[in-house]
């Protein structure tokens, strides 16, 4: 603060070092000292899976950086031009300016092809990273209070990432992406009543028109990334505000975070990791082609190529449409294309299920407490099984999306694959649910066994009377804590239906449903009772009985 009373004091002390003066100057205007004091020593727990979100953040930054470079050379226009660039097999072919400029970026702009490939590979990795990051958060229960909103932010980032990716994939106006846009337009048209209007509005008339590249361009480089950037910031602020979750262990409670401080350890780690991520993505982009639009050719609505798939994150939507029987209803001169509309609805439901899950689970458990200690997936068998069932369904529809390539590369009939996906869509998740739950229970039993009887040492001992036994080593106190610290929920009961005056109260349907679901989550056969201290003592005292 530079007012007249403090100035002489400064002079007395002599000149401070330049760095300090700059920091002082900035603090006077930005208040960085208090910010730094509050945050620089913030502690983060150490686990590789906590860096999955960082992979997403860094690939997002890489996408923005490379994307800016690409905008300098890309012409978002559908004006028809004749190609006279350096790529011989396209000489003289009529194409949109968008496609021609993408060819120029690939062949004539310095570093253009590498930057294009980094941009595209980073997008695929960004979405894959978000997928895995969400799985980590889901299976460890990190979405529980107070982090439900942050889960929603993450979910929105994933969905917006899908659509940003899709609009970007459509921009070069090549034959592959044009087919994808046509597919999307078909899905829009299948929406009853408003579909036609939305399509006409979006494409400025009949498909393909002359507008969509320019419009998708605004959406791709401005609207969606703008929202995503805001969400990323909000996501990170909430991570700071909530503090990071940690895996259970000795000394770790709901009230502390055990780990290393942001400054200097995580500054160095995170900063270094950014360059590692950039390096890996750049290496991938330098090694492998992605979306070689020059071989695919310019889009013309009268052409199509087989093997026309979207990028992987839209593959499950493709699969849903590919395996859906071509049902349609014709009524009063209108057609309801169920063969496309039902997949469109299922697409929304599959994604929506992710968004609402934290709220459903907290309603079922009725747990209003904050959770900062993570669950081990085996200790929440129903949740883990549900998650695996969802992933199974997702993966099966992904197979459906690539049914033609499965057919050609595994010498199968495409019809057989389609039927496999149709049946697997319903049966797969059920089987996955049952199997996963059994595995979780098995692992819980193993934990209980380990706690009570110790670790199998592999040492065989022969007793004086000839019996062979395996020597079990008791676990350390820390290990015992880690294996038994988790809490086991009791199923929620419907409260007394008769009040103190003997008047029967009406039990609401919601309450009954909740009790039933709670029974399914935590009732019989859903968890192995963890060993109690008494059991442990009893066994330790009666040593040697196994």
């Amino acid at each position: 603060m530079s007012n007249t009373t403090t100035a002489p004091a400064d002079e007395q002390r002599g000149k401070a070092p330049a760095g300090e003066r700059v920091a002082d100057w900035a603090d006077g205007r930005l208040g960085i000292y208090s910010l730094a004091k509050a945050n620089l020593r913030k502690v983060f727990p150490d686990h590789w899976s906590f860096m999955l979100g960082e992979i997403c953040l860094y690939s997002f930054i890489i996408i923005i950086l490379t994307g800016v470079y690409l905008t300098l050379f890309f012409h978002p226009s559908m004006n028809e031009v004749e190609y006279h660039g350096v790529y011989a097999p396209m000489q003289g072919v009529l194409m949109s300016e968008a496609y021609a400029s993408t060819l120029d970026i690939s062949f004539e702009v310095r570093g253009g092809l590498l930057i294009r490939q980094i941009h595209h590979w980073a997008a695929l990795i960004f979405l894959a990273g978000m997928f895995v990051h969400m799985m980590r958060v889901f299976f460890t229960g990190a979405f529980r209070k107070p982090r439900e909103i942050n889960w929603l932010f993450g979910f929105l980032l994933f969905v917006l990432g899908m659509f940003t990716g899709f609009t970007g994939y459509s921009l070069p106006d090549d034959l592959l992406s044009g087919t994808g846009v046509r597919f999307t337009q078909g899905a829009i048209l299948s929406v009853p009543i408003v579909g036609t209007y939305i399509s006409m509005f979006l494409f400025g008339g009949e498909f393909p028109g002359t507008d969509f590249v320019a419009r998708f361009y605004s959406i791709h480089i401005l609207l969606l990334p703008g929202i995503m950037l805001g969400l990323v910031v909000a996501h990170l602020i909430l991570v700071f505000y909530h503090k990071h979750t940690q895996f259970p262990g000795p000394g770790r409670t709901e009230k502390n975070v055990v780990g290393m401080p942001l400054m200097p350890v995580y500054m160095a780690k995170a900063g270094g990791f950014f360059f590692l991520v950039f390096g890996v993505i750049a290496a991938v982009a330098a090694i492998a082609t992605i979306n070689p639009i020059w071989t695919i050719g310019p889009y013309r609505p009268d052409m199509v190529g087989t093997g026309a798939q979207p990028d992987w994150y839209m593959g499950f939507a493709e699969g849903l449409v590919r395996v859906m029987p071509g049902w349609e209803i014709n009524l009063w001169g209108h057609t309801l294309v169920l063969g496309v509309f039902i997949p469109l609805v299922v697409f929304g439901l599959v994604l929506g299920a992710m968004a609402v899950y934290p709220f459903i689970e907290s309603w079922i458990t009725g747990d209003k407490r904050e959770h900062h200690l993570l669950d081990r997936p085996r200790n929440a068998p129903t949740r883990t099984a549900l998650g695996v069932a969802w992933i199974t369904m997702y993966m099966i529809t992904l197979v459906g999306g690539g049914n033609d390539l499965w057919a050609t590369h595994f010498h199968l009939s495409i019809n057989a694959i389609t039927w496999f996906v149709r049946i697997g869509f319903f049966a797969g998740p059920v089987i996955a649910f049952i199997v996963t739950k059994r595995i979780c229970l098995g692992l819980q039993r193993r934990d209980a066994e380990k706690v009570l009887h110790g670790r199998e040492s592999g040492i065989i001992k022969r007793l004086p009377h000839g019996e062979f036994i395996e020597v079990h080593e008791p676990l350390s106190q820390e290990q015992l804590h880690t294996l038994t610290q988790h809490e086991q929920y009791k199923p929620v009961e419907i409260g007394p239906t008769v009040d103190e005056n003997g008047v029967e109260r009406k039990v609401k349907g919601g309450e009954k449903l909740r009790a039933k679901l709670s029974q399914a989550y935590f009732g019989e056969g859903t968890q192995i009772p963890k060993p109690t201290a008494e059991e442990y003592k009893e066994i330790q005292e009666g040593h040697g009985h196994h």
């Binding site: 150490d46 686990h47 590789w48 860096m51 999955l52 992979i55 011989a88 097999p89 396209m90 000489q91 003289g92 072919v93 690939s106 062949f107 092809l113 490939q117 590979w121 695929l124 990795i125 894959a128 990273g129 895995v132 034959l175 592959l176 350890v265 780690k269 990791f273 590692l276 991520v277 890996v280 993505i281 991938v284 090694i287 492998a288 082609t289 979306n291 070689p292 071989t295 695919i296 050719g297 013309r300 052409m303 190529g305 087989t306 093997g307 026309a308 798939q309 990028d311 992987w312 593959g315 999306g401 690539g402 390539l405 057919a407 050609t408 010498h411 199968l412 009939s413 495409i414 019809n415």
Partner: protein, 269 residues
């Protein structure tokens, strides 16, 4: 004249006359030779048909009938032309190994000479597309860009954008065109083997067939350039997605594990 008659008894005169006579005979021979050669070719042709018929009787007749008239196991070959034989046998598709959704490409079991003989025999059964000459399918003088447009318009919906192949219904497929010789691609267009429609010269003129062949040679052969790096099969986003997951995210997770394992250690006092 005097000079000549004076030397008619020269000891070498007989040789000169002999030389002249020989030259005359040689000249006459060359004058008549083409006719002889044509005759010889005709004989060769009928010989080839004869030989082809024998090969046919052994290798093909069990399905296509003793006279190429077809049976319940194989279609009639009357009028398919020599190009069809050269394609089917020359790519190993025929003779068929076993009935199935589609005859796959496999090891060629006949020599080119034998294939030509069979082709000659089948061609003799009825007029059909003839085996193209090297000039017809050589990429010289072809318009590659036009070939690309034609390919995307007529071929890509089954064979993929650059002819990497694709699936058809019930186990049938449009084969990968990566290392198929220009001649066989040309013949496939002429004859429309198996599930493929045929593109006779009335539909796709000779020059345009040449363009398509040249385009495939440019974008999908050992000689074609891949400026972006590994081609990943050239089959589009499915392969790219798999690569991104395994080599992109897989590597990044491995790196994350490596980074997380290297942490600052608190000083032990």
């Amino acid at each position: 004249m005097k000079k000549l008659s004076a030397r008619r008894r020269h000891p070498l005169a007989a040789f000169v006359v002999l030389l002249l006579a020989l030259a005359a005979t040689g000249g006459l021979y060359t004058a008549f030779a083409p006719a002889d050669k044509a005759q010889a070719e005709e004989t060769a042709q009928s010989l080839a048909i004869e030989e082809g018929k024998k090969l046919y009787a052994v290798g093909c007749s069990s399905c296509h009938g003793t006279g190429g008239q077809g049976s319940s196991d194989g279609p009639s070959l009357v009028g398919v032309g020599s190009a069809a034989v050269d394609f089917q046998v020359g790519t190993g598709r025929m003779p068929l190994q076993q009935p199935g959704a589609q005859a796959p490409r496999k090891k060629v079991i006949y020599t080119q000479a034998e294939i030509d003989q069979m082709a000659a025999y089948i061609a003799s059964l009825g007029a059909g597309p003839t085996t193209p000459t090297a000039k017809q399918y050589s990429p010289e003088g072809a318009d590659i860009a036009n070939g690309g447009t034609l390919f995307r318009n007529n071929c890509a919906q089954c064979h993929n954008f650059t002819g990497e192949g694709g699936a058809l219904t019930n186990g049938k497929y449009a084969p990968d065109l990566t290392d198929v010789s220009p001649k066989h691609i040309y013949e496939a267009m002429q004859t429309g083997p198996q599930n493929m429609p045929s593109f006779p010269d009335t539909v796709l003129p000779e020059q345009e067939k040449k363009d398509v062949v040249a385009y495939l040679q440019t974008v999908n052969s050992d000689k074609s350039e891949n400026p972006g790096g590994l081609k990943l099969g050239g089959i589009g986003p499915v392969a790219e997605g798999l690569f991104a997951w395994i080599f992109g995210l897989g590597t990044l997770i491995a790196v994350a594990i490596w980074v997380a394992a290297r942490t600052a250690k608190a000083k032990k006092s």
